[in-house]
């Protein structure tokens, strides 16, 4: 039986996390020595049968107590700060990441690349390029975890969560679901396959060539009837979607909201909850009529319209 002692380190995050881990390990070793060595010493020296000097000794109790309270506080603050900084780095993605959608459902993982490639329980990626996964769940809470990358993010139904990382070496790395999700939770695992950029490009082109995410989304936009109201020449007065993504949207109650992924999702599933200022609440709700994958495709399409200008309103 082989037994690894330490997991492979295959991402930029892993390097940071392992540094912190070893620092904590060293600190723990020191603390254990500071506690157990005196303890063993006292247990031996002052065991009942010994005739060590046990006369009462006036110790500066208060100074001792304050010292061993204050020093741990400072050490804690230091570890907190280091951990928080690393955490901030690993939660906030850099600009220009490779965007991939990931849908978790009982008990499998489905990935969609922007170019249209789809995978189940496998994720092909190029090395040395930061990746952001947009995660959605069809049913219960799951959690996407790649031990070799040291990253993990819960996948919560009803919202999008994101997770970014940058693989640093080619190879195959297991991923798991780490939030108990029902009967076959243990089987909900897969492999990330990190390739050289050339191999990755190759894989993309020779994979099942289909429409890109945005193209699939555009098809849905028509078949679901969205273009009936939101196209420029529609008789219904509906907010234009060109240039919408990323902008501030004024709502009917006077507040403003940023048109991000969650906003688009909520507006499609339950439009009545946030009415754009100046428009009537006539859009039908699509909740229950769209899978998470379809939603992600629609949103990809809408994102592709972000750079366009809205048509002139008559």
């Amino acid at each position: 039986m082989n037994f690894p002692i330490f997991p492979k380190s295959a991402s930029t995050t892993a390097v940071q996390t392992d540094h912190l881990f070893f620092l904590l390990l060293a600190f723990s070793a020191v603390m254990m020595a500071l506690i157990f060595l005196p303890m063993f010493f006292f247990l031996y020296k002052y065991r009942r049968q010994s005739n060590a000097d046990r006369s009462s000794r006036k110790l500066p109790t208060e100074y001792i107590e304050i010292t061993w309270t204050v020093i741990p506080v400072f050490i804690s603050l230091a570890f907190f700060a280091l951990g928080a900084r690393a955490y901030f780095n690993e939660e906030v993605p850099p600009a220009d990441t490779l965007q991939i959608n990931c849908v978790g459902k009982q008990w499998m993982w489905k990935f969609q690349h922007q170019e249209g490639n789809r995978e189940i329980n496998e994720l092909h990626l190029p090395v040395d390029r930061p990746v952001t996964l947009t995660l959605a769940s069809e049913d219960v809470i799951h959690s996407f975890y790649v031990p070799a990358f040291r990253i993990k993010q819960d996948v919560v139904p009803g919202r999008f969560t994101t997770e970014w990382f940058q693989p640093t070496s080619t190879g195959s790395y297991r991923f798991y679901c780490t939030e108990y999700c029902g009967m076959d939770h243990a089987k909900m695992a897969g492999t990330v396959i990190v390739m050289t950029p050339a191999d990755y490009q190759d894989w993309l082109e020779h994979g099942s060539v289909r429409d890109t995410l945005a193209q699939s989304g555009e098809a849905l936009f028509r078949t679901l009837g969205c273009s009936g109201c939101h196209a420029g020449n529609s008789a219904i007065h509906a907010p234009p979607l060109e240039g919408l993504y990323g902008r501030l949207v004024p709502l009917s109650d006077g507040t403003f909201v940023r048109a991000d992924d969650q906003y688009l999702r909520d507006s499609i599933l339950n439009p009545a909850s946030q009415i754009t200022a100046g428009y009537a609440p006539v859009m039908p709700a699509y909740a229950g009529r769209l899978s998470e994958e379809n939603l992600l495709q629609l949103i990809a399409y809408l994102k592709s319209l972000a750079k366009e200008t809205p048509p002139k309103t008559p």
């Binding site: 109650d253 909850s273 709700a285 909740a287």
Partner: protein, 213 residues
């Protein structure tokens, strides 16, 4: 206002210890009740923050007349309860019983009004999951399960409170000349006032959301 020798439970040394223990016990119990309802109020706050418009729209469908009448009834019952406690401290047992009976009647009136109100809410299709009124937004259902849960739990506590007060009335009526501790009545009063205070928070949160507009 000297208290004559009365029965002290055997774990206590003397009457002041018993009185303090029982009173502190009731306050501690009320603290647990605050945390219990508090969890529910927290859930309410979170969802109201997410879905204020839906809450305002849904709240308009509560019957503010029933709600206001009940508020008046319950506050008055707190008054009668307080008067009953005062009478107990003055060792005026007949007055104590009268005021406690009045409190029970008001409490029952509260429950009766609530019964009529619930009946109306059901015929107005305001029960989530039971042919909920389609004119209301989806998240209005969240408002209404909060409404049913919060008022239902409150009504349960009203019933418990009425039970406690009735027990006090029973003890007072059948005491056979033995004095009854005023602190027992006072602690029952504490519970009743708590039930009243919960309602005072419930009323604006459920009946008055967005009503000024």
């Amino acid at each position: 206002m000297a208290e004559r020798t009365t029965t002290i439970a055997k774990q206590f040394e003397d009457l002041p210890q018993q009185r303090e223990a029982v009173t502190l016990g009731m306050w501690t119990f009320l603290a647990t009740e605050v945390l219990f309802f508090g969890g529910l109020f927290l859930v309410y706050s979170v969802y109201r923050h997410f879905y204020f418009n839906a809450f305002a729209a849904a709240s308009k469908h509560t019957d503010v007349v029933y709600g206001t009448v009940n508020s008046v009834i319950l506050i008055t019952s707190s008054l009668t309860m307080a008067l009953g406690v005062r009478a107990a401290k003055l060792i005026q047992y007949r007055n104590t019983i009268r005021f406690l009976l009045l409190t029970v009647c008001l409490g029952l009136a509260f429950l009766a009004v609530k019964g009529f109100e619930y009946h109306k809410d059901i015929t107005d299709r305001l029960v989530p999951g039971l042919d909920f009124n389609p004119d209301l937004p989806l998240h209005g259902q969240i408002f209404f399960w909060l409404y049913w849960t919060m008022t239902g739990l409150h009504a349960l506590h009203v019933i418990i409170g009425l039970g406690v007060i009735s027990t006090m009335i029973g003890l007072l009526s059948r005491r056979n000349g033995r004095p009854v501790h005023a602190h027992s009545i006072e602690n029952a009063g504490l519970y009743w006032h708590f039930v009243d205070i919960v309602w005072i928070y419930l009323y604006p949160l459920l009946y008055l959301v967005g009503r000024h507009s």
